[in-house]
Symmetry: C2
Subunit: 344 residues, 2 copies
DNA sequence: TCTGGCACTCGGCGGTCGAGAGTGCCAATC
DNA sequence: GATTGGCACTCTCGACCGCCGAGTGCCAGA
């Protein structure tokens, strides 16, 4: 589609624009691209690129700016992604070397570090109950009328919830019920605990129906309208980008970032794509508030299973190659660490 | 200090400015204050108020704007705080009527609702381990080499942590150690678990020293650099305020809001004041990024004990009476709900 | 096919100007 | 003595204007 000189020019143009945030003129490209022709020739090529929809002119007699299509081509074909530099890799490793830090904190820190390293906004979702499998549950007596429910999952996560304990249930009756639940549900994905199983437990232990009901409420993930386990880092970084100097643009964006539910869907959805790292550019985004942004996402795995998602949100004029390299490194380290914590 | 007419004028001026965000002229006050004198008279009074430092003039021939001192006098002496309207109170009650929602989610929602109701930024800190007392701990065997530590506190909170289990400790030896810990620490504030007690347990059960060490790591609150349990709501609301139209002002502010540690200190510190509700206005704030903001804070109690803090951050031109009324209502409801959840 | 030259276009910047809002002061009035 | 209407003055803000510079498109020549 594009001959090699046009590719070089487009690449130089995108990278120059990423650096400067200013429309790029033919002179700058002549210097930077290394194609060795004069600005006049570049101008002709740029007119072609514009006709093909890869670049745009903010107004006559300004330089060119990459269009959505231009960024897309850059991301898909032109950019070269490298491994992050040594010190950066070291920083990522350091993040995960303290084994006593709880998973939550790990995820939170990951978001913080990613946002610092990129100067964009980072979104990291940690392991979620609804993607885990049931391993075992346990009820701990707290006092006469409260029980603490501890739910252990296959990947070493656990969830605890305080339950009101219906009176007059003997401890051994309760234990028997728990044992029954444990054998029936073992290995089940929590996303769809068959209500059939719960039903039979309920029938088997009629005196504990309300208790079973409470347990169901905990292990069946709710409407997930709460954004537990999703962490943002560097939301204020958006304000540093010159494209968001206009307040009205950034306001809608920041409001969107407060909607945990939407962000989670966004992450999960775009990371579904059959590629390692998914990049959604400008107008490709579903939400109008994000039309001037790009979102780079990836799922991370522990033991071959997706356990969470990572995303970086920045302006379309994002340092894609840097971000993609960084996410790749982080997703691997994070996955590895979670696998390491997985219980035998 | 101020005669009653000046007070009326100052009150009208502050309230008009809160409504309009524009410097207030003598005409507007003549209409609003109800003192029944002409604008010319008001002008004379305003000149006095300016000399006394209660109001300022952005430039000659503009209206007046309240100074920090003016706001202070308004908050301390002039404003009338009422109970929030019926529907608002109902909204607050609704927030807490579902007993199955975990405390974390309750706190998060509180922040969300407060920010919506005020259109400012809400900060809510939930009950913290370090302010709780030790009740009991329990170790649950997860598998051969992991234990789940469950720590119950006096106010019905609990904390769980996964520990690596040192090998070759018989279960009954471990249980004995737990029992010993439980009797020694019962009722202790977690903020300062005496290391003397831990020391004797360590001596008593020499084969479990590493385990005791892990437990100590959990129950002694860490450096609390993590901002667990602090929730923000409506940070994007700051951008709606006309005083933050200048990007550079809001950027530092939003960055500050990302520093959980600082916010927690701020909340705890300002809510220490010997009043129910503390108001910190503009220049009174320690951090320069907050010099154009006011912070209204309160501690909330359950059973006479402070368990957390609430704060509302907005522009100096804040609707103080509304905010104070709202915080009062919320802190009572929230405290009541947490007390209700407290274990017998 | 490439290049240098050249006329053209447009946004940004600084300066000027008039309108409008609100003041301070003064003399008259209650 | 307090209050008031009148009036000149000050200052901001938006509109308007012209200049400058960057960058283009096009063309003729290499």
């Amino acid at each position: 589609m594009l001959d090699s000189r046009k590719e070089k020019i487009l690449k130089a143009l995108v990278e120059e624009y990423i650096d400067t945030a200013q429309p790029v003129g033919s002179g700058a490209i002549a210097l930077r691209s290394g194609v060795g022709v004069s600005p006049a020739t570049i101008r002709n090529e740029m007119a072609d690129l514009e006709a093909m929809g890869f670049v745009e002119q903010p107004h006559t007699s300004a330089g060119r700016v990459p269009s959505g299509r231009g960024y897309r081509h850059y991301v898909d074909q032109l950019m070269t992604v490298g491994r992050p530099a040594g010190p950066v890799m070291a920083g990522i490793r350091d993040l995960y070397d303290d084994r006593s830090v709880p998973v939550r904190a790990l995820i939170r820190r990951t978001a913080g570090v990613l946002s610092e390293m990129t100067e964009y906004t980072a979104l990291v979702e940690g392991p979620q109950l609804e993607r885990a499998t049931f391993k075992r549950l346990e009820l701990i007596e707290v006092n006469g009328d409260h029980l603490l429910l501890v739910l252990l999952t296959g990947d070493g996560l656990f969830e605890t919830r305080l339950l009101e304990c219906p009176p007059h249930i003997p401890a051994d009756y309760r234990e028997a019920m728990v044992t029954s639940l444990n054998t029936r549900l073992a290995g089940r994905p929590l996303g769809n605990v068959a209500s059939r199983d719960l039903e039979s437990v309920r029938r088997e232990f009629p005196r504990a129906v309300t208790l079973v009901e409470s347990i169901r409420g905990t292990i069946e993930p709710g409407d997930s309208t709460e954004s537990e386990g999703l962490f943002l880092g560097g939301t204020a970084n958006m304000l540093k980008q010159p494209e968001f100097r206009r307040l009205e643009k950034v306001e809608g964006l920041l409001s969107l970032l407060e909607q945990g539910r939407i962000l989670r869907d966004l992450l999960a959805e775009s990371a579904l794509a059959p590629v390692d790292i998914s990049v959604t550019i400008g107008e490709e985004n579903r939400y109008p508030q994000m039309r001037e942004c790009s979102l780079v996402t990836a799922a991370y795995q522990a033991g071959g299973q997706t356990v969470g998602y990572i995303g970086i949100l920045g302006p379309c004029r994002m340092r894609y190659s840097h971000v993609v390299g960084l996410i790749t490194a982080v997703k691997e380290s994070l996955g590895r660490e979670l696998l390491r914590r997985r219980l035998a």
